[in-house]
């Protein structure tokens, strides 16, 4: 039978390269697992990859080539939200299903929603909602300072959080904000400004190397003794823990879209072990997203009995429920029909000494778990957001 072809785009160069390359590896693992069991309905999966260069214009070109030349059945991938927004447009025009595995902008599932788009990883709203629930119960956290990269992701991740927290706590106050450029190499003046403002909590919406650089530079200022450090979307990723084998402070409050040591399920352990065995490194969260993406597509094709009829696929994919490495015991991730956003449990932890995933010497622990249904926007909210745009 003919292969099921997936056209994947991930950044493989530049700053986000780590995520892209991990995604590629994980997608290949998932593909091989599925194909080893005989594929889907007897059809093998084939994934082609191309660098997205984290560049919307280039990605559009690649996506179009995938569709016209390579005749892919699905598009998958993309780390940057801006690229996601660009590719979802191609998906819509050509009626080719696009499975988002690692970009968080809420817009894709609300204002810019189109039926051929599905996302199998958390969006910023989910992280922010969990973070607000976490913060609401901590009484001493009153004065907030926010620093994040100056682009939509950085702002939106914060704004959702602040809005949701504000609904539940009236005594919180924003004492300052700073918006350095994405990939800013030097945070020193920002750090001195933060210290002078004396917040209780420093919320950061950095991801990747920016978190690393910020922490390294803030350490000698003893910033982490003076305030809580809170990064609830990308900060808890393994790459940070790994990048700082020495010096990473205890008690940073972090999360990510997938963790190596949570949930403590067989499936998660196996996924992590397999990835490590095949690539020699531990997966960053992006890997699990890509892994989930391939399984999601496989499940869709299995249920629909076709990879060629997008509308039929949409109809079944909207209702998929499946078990992922990041699902705790007794829970299965599922797709929500209204926004094609996967619904998942979120866990936020603190850095604690833990050497089980070397070279990291700290891992997250002291978990707080947030139920999947508590952290998604209500149907009414989504409809309101979509209406606001239409006007």
């Amino acid at each position: 039978a003919e292969k099921i072809v997936i056209g994947a785009m991930y950044p493989m160069t530049g700053r986000a390269g780590r995520y892209g390359i991990d995604s590629v590896s994980a997608a290949e693992i998932a593909m091989n697992e599925i194909n080893a069991k005989g594929g889907v309905n007897g059809r093998m999966i084939d994934i082609i990859f191309n660098d997205s260069k984290a560049n919307p214009a280039y990605s559009i070109k690649v996506a179009k080539r995938y569709i016209t030349e390579d005749k892919v059945n699905f598009l998958m991938g993309v780390v940057s939200s801006a690229v996601g927004l660009a590719v979802t447009e191609v998906s819509k025009e050509n009626k080719v299903i696009f499975v988002g595995t690692d970009h968080a902008s809420t817009a894709l599932t609300t204002e810019k929603f189109q039926p051929y788009y599905f996302r199998v990883s958390n969006n910023t709203y989910q992280s922010a909602a969990a973070a607000a629930l976490y913060a609401k119960d901590i009484k001493p956290w009153k004065k907030y300072y926010v620093i994040g990269p100056d682009y939509e992701y950085g702002h939106r991740t914060w704004e959702d959080f602040w809005m949701l927290l504000g609904r539940q706590r009236k005594d919180v106050q924003l004492v300052g904000q700073a918006w350095p450029k994405l990939f800013e190499p030097d945070y020193t003046p920002y750090i001195t400004a933060i210290l002078s403002a004396k917040p209780d909590v420093l919320v950061t919406t950095f991801w990747g190397g920016d978190t690393v650089a910020f922490i390294k530079q803030a350490l000698p200022y003893k910033l982490f003794d003076k305030m809580k450090f809170y990064n609830y979307d990308g900060g808890g990723n393994y790459e940070l823990l790994e990048a700082m084998p020495t010096g990473l402070p205890k008690g940073l409050v972090l999360s990510a879209r997938h963790h190596l040591n949570w949930p403590d399920t067989k499936q998660n352990k196996e996924f992590v072990a397999k990835f490590k065995a095949q690539t020699g490194r531990y997966p960053s969260y992006a890997a699990e997203g890509a892994y989930a993406g391939v399984y999601f597509i496989a499940e869709g094709v299995r249920q629909a009995g076709t990879a060629e009829d997008p509308d039929k696929l949409v109809a079944v994919m909207e209702k998929i429920k499946f078990k992922l490495p990041e699902d705790p015991e007794g829970f299965m991730s599922y797709m929500r029909p209204i926004d094609h956003q996967i619904v998942q449990v979120q866990a936020i932890g603190e850095t604690v000494p833990d050497k089980s995933f070397p070279p990291a010497t700290m891992m997250l622990g002291n978990w707080k778990i947030f139920k999947a249904e508590e952290i998604i926007p209500s149907v009414a909210e989504i409809e309101a957001a979509r209406k606001a745009v239409k006007k």
Binding site: P180, S196, A213, K222
Partner: protein
């Protein structure tokens, strides 16, 4: 706004300025003094960081020895690049354009080379233990390591100034920059001098990369991010003027440090705004004499 805050911001700005200057110093040398534009300067910064990682974290060499090795390594890479490639385009019509093109191709090549050798994960090296802490003056804190960076920056500025203005080598370089043919006719070994100065400039790039490795992220793609910043510093200081570059870095550092207090939303544009203002009001750069531009 209280005095402590201002003092803290000032010191923070100073530290940033020195890091900026260190990266820019190699560029002023090669671009400002010898008129060779090395777009790939940031890639040597990147190489320096990775070499330092290799030496310190992998091979267990001491920190400062690692920094030294990294600078030498980056310098050697620079000499090779000059010797095998750049040299072939000297004297060509439209040379400046080809310099951009050639060195740009090296950004691409070196980025992939780094990725092939070291992968895409973030690498780290630790500072020497003695430099891990910080000094405190009342409310104002200054990391020890930053102080060392400032000292190194000043030393580089002074050393380069002296080397260019006070030595035969520097004088030869300035001659080469205005007329390579004539310099060689007078017995200056132009190819050697160009290789050397290119090596020196890239070694400075490597030095700055190695020195920032403990406090920044060592990752592919980190090179291209520093190049525009250093260009700005070089240009607002006045081409080939080391003190100018230092002053330029200070201005950018301090404007950013104080700017973020008042206009945090516009931080990404500060350095461009400073550059535009400087160029509009002092087109030859901050420290150049009026009308002294070629």
């Amino acid at each position: 706004m209280d005095g402590n805050l201002l003092a803290a911001q000032f010191i923070g700005g100073l530290t940033s300025a020195m890091s900026l200057f260190l990266v820019a110093s190699g560029l002023t040398l090669i671009f400002g003094v010898v008129n060779v534009f090395n777009f790939a300067h940031g890639s040597f910064y990147l190489l320096g960081a990775y070499f330092a990682y290799q030496a310190v974290a992998v091979s267990g060499v001491g920190f400062w020895a690692g920094v030294l090795l990294a600078s030498l390594g980056a310098g050697a890479a620079g000499v090779l690049m000059e010797y095998f490639f750049l040299r072939r385009i000297y004297g060509r019509a439209g040379e400046a354009g080809f310099q951009i093109l050639l060195t740009y191709s090296f950004i691409l090549i070196l980025d992939d080379v780094v990725k092939m050798i070291w992968g895409t994960d973030y690498k780290s090296i630790s500072k020497p233990v003695a430099l891990a802490g910080s000094f405190s003056l009342g409310e104002v804190t200054m990391p020890r390591y930053d102080l060392v960076v400032i000292v190194i920056g000043l030393a580089v500025a002074f050393g380069m100034w002296a080397a260019i203005r006070k030595t035969r080598f520097g004088r030869n370089l300035r001659a080469i920059s205005s007329n390579r043919e004539m310099a060689s006719s007078l017995g200056v070994n132009v190819p050697l001098a160009l290789s050397l100065v290119f090596g020196l400039a890239t070694a400075l790039g490597g030095l700055s990369g190695a020195i920032s490795a403990p406090v920044r992220t060592v990752t592919p793609g980190a090179g291209i991010e520093v190049i525009i910043g250093s260009l700005i510093v070089v240009v607002i200081g006045g081409l080939g003027n080391f003190w100018g570059a230092l002053v330029g870095a200070l201005v950018i550092g301090e404007v950013t440090a104080f700017g973020i207090l008042f206009l945090p939303q516009w931080a990404i544009l500060f350095s461009y705004a400073v550059m535009a203002l400087v160029l509009i009001f002092r087109p030859e750069g901050l420290l150049m004499k009026r009308g002294a531009v070629r």
